[in-house]
């Protein structure tokens, strides 16, 4: 069982969904792939299809339209799937809370594994968040 978690966390394929973001967080996610940060050395890579994904990376405050897409994407993804909320918007809806197209917070729609707040979070913060996710997975394993 521990081996399984180890293998899963060594090769996280990330699917990036922008659920109505202002694009700042998306740019910071792309920064993680640049030579300065290079997340490929941890075995992570961005994939184009949700069917290949291990991590669903969500940026942006949820609105009514993207909530539907998000739900269907979550159902289409092969499990085990981890959900990461990048930026303050998906974590707490930021300044869009209570505005008319907004439905609810992200974690009221699908379960979220790791929150990475910041507007936008630095690439270091995103990598630290993913490291927290990995720690959480292996720690959970130690208990069980």
């Amino acid at each position: 069982m521990k081996l399984k978690e180890k293998i899963l966390t060594k090769s996280l394929w990330v699917y990036h969904l922008s659920a109505g973001s202002c694009n700042n967080c998306d740019i910071e996610i792309l920064d993680c792939l640049t030579p300065r940060f290079d997340i490929e050395r941890f075995g992570m890579q961005l994939v184009g299809s949700i069917r290949h994904a291990d991590v669903l990376l969500i940026t942006g405050a949820m609105n009514k339209k993207s909530a539907k897409i998000l739900k269907s994407l979550y159902e289409q993804a092969p499990k085990p799937l981890f959900v990461a909320a990048v930026g303050t918007c998906p974590c707490s809806q930021h300044m869009f809370k209570g505005s008319y197209p907004m439905l609810s917070a992200l974690d009221e729609i699908i379960p979220v594994d790791v929150y990475i707040p910041g507007c936008p979070p630095k690439p270091e913060a995103i990598i630290a968040g993913i490291a927290k996710l990995i720690n959480k997975l292996t720690a959970k394993d130690k208990k069980g």
Partner: protein
């Protein structure tokens, strides 16, 4: 009997080909990373990726034709395993049979064919676009590959047996040391590039335009089968090129393996350089490149080979 099973399963068969292919693919990823001043993945990354895919769930789309959707990765993988075993036994143990060049040619077609079928059966519009592109690309590169194969066959005195093609190079000199042989080598490199879907010819799986193209609906173990077949092709295609054109014979076995690995690394390096200095071609440009540039070159090579150059 046990020796034969070991030959097929361990060395120089399945396990060896898979290991070498994974290392070759890692080398390609690492070289790409170094070209971009990145660090790149650790050496065991591809093994971990494959193992992870087998831990995941398999999703089958509701509209998909289930039998073909499930069967095509498996058939594709089995064809690749077969062709790898034939090629590796040929190169390392000199086990050959009459007409195996033709068998290899057919078996190398099967993976692409079943990738197309699998994509079509998944009923995903992006997969359909990918399948259409893959079909056109196949039409483009098969021509060129057959031209390069004909040059090697003419060089060996019109024999369609791998042992003869390898043997004539041991007797005289490697095929690449002549004009026609060099042309055929270049054609074969571009063929391998297109077959493996490396960057100038990766329009069938173009990540940025059509997501993952032909494999978009595949997940879990089925994607793992595709991944393994791609990894094994990473070894068997360079192996095929080496045995057709650059078989260098030396007395000591150690030196022979050393030369083989050096050649393998060199071919991966060449493909990686082509990958990193080129953008993705449009399908039209790829067809033009193969049909109007490389194919006349192949015809020229065949004529030169007929005159013994």
């Amino acid at each position: 009997m046990i020796k034969m099973i070991l030959q097929y399963l361990i060395f120089p068969g399945l396990a060896f080909c898979f290991f070498m292919g994974a290392m070759g693919f890692w080398l390609e990823r690492k070289l790409t990373a170094r070209f971009q001043y990145r660090v790149g993945p650790p050496w065991y990354q591809n093994f971990i990726d494959v193992m992870k895919l087998f831990l995941k769930e398999t999703m089958i789309p509701r509209d998909a034709t289930k039998t073909i959707f499930i069967a095509s990765p498996i058939i594709s993988l089995s064809a690749v395993i077969l062709v790898s075993i034939i090629l590796a036994n040929n190169y390392f143990l000199n086990i050959s049979f009459i007409g195996d060049v033709i068998v290899i040619l057919y078996l190398l077609l099967i993976p692409s064919l079943f990738i197309i079928l699998g994509a079509l059966s998944s009923k995903n519009p992006l997969a359909l676009v990918g399948a259409a592109r893959e079909t056109k690309l196949m039409l483009a590169y098969e021509f060129v590959f057959i031209a390069s194969l004909i040059i090697a066959i003419i060089k060996s005195g019109n024999s369609i047996m791998m042992a003869d093609i390898i043997g004539i190079q041991i007797l005289n000199k490697p095929n690449i040391a002549s004009f026609s042989g060099a042309i055929a080598f270049v054609l074969a490199i571009f063929y391998a590039q297109a077959k493996l879907g490396i960057v100038p010819f990766d329009m069938a799986e173009a990540e940025q335009e059509i997501m993952a193209g032909t494999v978009i609906e595949y997940s879990g173990p089925l994607l793992g089968f595709y991944k393994i077949s791609k990894l094994m092709l990473y070894f068997s295609l360079p192996l095929f090129i080496i045995s057709l054109f650059v078989k260098i014979s030396v007395e000591s076995a150690f030196l022979r393996y050393l030369i083989f690995f050096a050649e393998y690394i060199l071919i991966i390096f060449i493909m990686s350089v082509i990958k990193n200095i080129n953008p993705r071609l449009r399908i039209k440009d790829a067809l033009g490149f193969f049909w109007f540039l490389l194919f006349p070159l192949g015809i020229l090579g065949i004529i030169l080979a007929q005159f013994g150059l």
